[in-house]
């Protein structure tokens, strides 16, 4: 079996969550006088990939940070792995975050640390043996095909490479939930495809539950209509113009959910705003 899938396969053997992994229940949040999210309710089942779409400024990134407890809502509750993150203290959230990987919009790599130290950050904090840390870092970088960049600093990498390192950092601890905040934001189409391929690889090989925020419709539909071919190390269209059954959509507009459902339901929706958004 190719080394680059070793890390993904280890994730596949993790015990699966019983019940929804993420539940937003009547969540609202405003910043100063701007109501960013207004009475949002949805859930994400184990193994599901939920793609969050919407125009710029509709609250997608805020939704991601709420899911990881980085910010707290003004109203409502958010349950992650059955625990209410809105009521937990910051120090109580740290053990929960060990099960969550997050890829930030601009990568958010620690620019004073090498790629190795960035990917190894969590493991070094946990005090794991150096040899084990090095091995897992290399496996994770192999997964994103950036093994050669292990000793480089983020400033020496291109935007796409930084994004791949951010993914490596998120998956190295084999999380049960991955939050991707605009993983292809600001990248050219070719690099975006590379990133989407990695997201797909994580989805199809390790079956990790994930929330993917994106403003690029082509990336969203690529995820829904393609699958990762482990033998070929590349994505390919699902046969017979199929749709990935575990990929669902959530569309936001002006802080409210305008669509929550499957790819088929989205494509065949009669909502005029949705039709215009998707066109």
């Amino acid at each position: 079996m190719p080394d680059s899938t070793a890390i993904a396969e280890q994730s596949a053997s993790q015990p699966q969550q019983a019940g929804p992994v993420v539940v937003f229940d009547h969540v609202s949040i405003a910043f100063e006088e701007n109501q960013v999210l207004n009475d949002i309710s949805f859930s994400v089942e184990p193994g599901e990939t939920r793609i969050v779409l919407g125009p710029a400024g509709c609250g997608k990134s805020v939704l991601m940070k709420l899911a990881n407890g980085l910010i707290r809502p003004d109203a409502g509750s958010i349950h992650v792995f059955g625990e209410d993150v809105t009521k937990m203290r910051e120090e109580d959230l740290y053990p929960l975050r060990e099960r969550v990987g997050m890829v930030f919009q601009e990568s958010a790599l620690f620019d004073s640390m090498t790629v190795h130290d960035n990917v190894a950050f969590r493991m070094m904090e946990e005090g794991l043996p150096e040899q084990e840390v090095d091995q897992r870092v290399l496996e994770s970088l192999r997964f994103v095909e950036l093994e050669d960049a292990v000793n480089k600093f983020p400033s020496e990498l291109s935007g796409g490479m930084r994004r791949r390192v951010a993914i490596a950092r998120a998956v190295v601890s084999q999380p049960e939930l991955i939050l991707y905040d605009s993983p292809t934001g600001g990248l050219d189409p070719i690099t975006s495809t590379t990133i989407i391929e990695l997201v797909m690889k994580q989805r199809d090989v390790s079956h990790t539950t994930s929330l993917v925020v994106t403003h690029r419709l082509q990336d969203a539909f690529t995820l829904a209509t393609h699958e990762y071919d482990v033998q070929a190390h590349a994505m390919k269209p699902i046969p017979n113009k199929g749709i990935d059954a575990k990929t669902k959509f959530l569309v936001l507009n002006e802080g409210k959910i305008v669509f929550d459902g499957t790819t088929q339901e989205l494509v065949h929706s009669n909502d005029p705003w949705l039709k215009e958004f998707l066109s």
Binding site: Y94, E98, V100, F104, A108, L109, F121, E125
Partner: protein
Amino acid sequence: MKFTSPEDLVKSSVLAVQEYTLLSARAIANLFTGPTYWADVYTQADSIGIGSLPIVILTGFFTGCVLALQSATALSNFGAKNITGQLVSLSMVKELGPVLTSLMVSGRNASGMASELGSMKVTEQIDAMRALGTDPIRKLVTPRIVSTVAMLFFLTIISDAIGTLGGAMVSIFMLGLDGPQYFNIAYQTLMYPDVLQGLVKPIFFGFIIASIGCYFGMKTRGGTQGVGKATTQAVVFSSVLIIIVDFLISRTMIGIFGR
């Protein structure tokens, strides 16, 4: 520049004091629980302590020189030029050593802390650290406070010594005073309360420099412009607070010890 209403100004000021107090309290509380990031403490101590040594030595030396020059001019009106050493020693140890050293370190390090943490804040590195299960206050703020307090203590001692030496060089080579007499008077004039006052101040000032620098860094918003603003505010607020706290400590200790 838009005008803020008095109500908003008061609210934002009270909120700022609250947030600063909470940040400082959490940073100190972290000292009593694990994990402690000793590697970060040593790294910061090297940057703050060794890194500030050149400017502290220069500041202390020339402050001592100018003190000797100015005080000798005034004292010679009373035929008391011989006690220049007393004036230099007392002024350096009680006031100018701690305050000027702290102001130099504040300008160098409070700005550095604010800009470093501010850059991390606006690029979501602080959020990434939280998402990876690490408390940014424990990892970033506490080591800076510990190392600044520790290093400023020793930097002040060095500044006092170099300042006294600077005063000696001016007194001996420019004013024609007797060297052994200068050092004898400089040493004899110092009493326990003077030295205590001069060593208590850097502890408070070190805390002010690091906590203010980290506070403005951690609450930075608005991209690179916000980082610039945070850097400036950190230096201004820490410098003003040092001057105010210097007065309070001096008044308190003179009240307790009588000098």
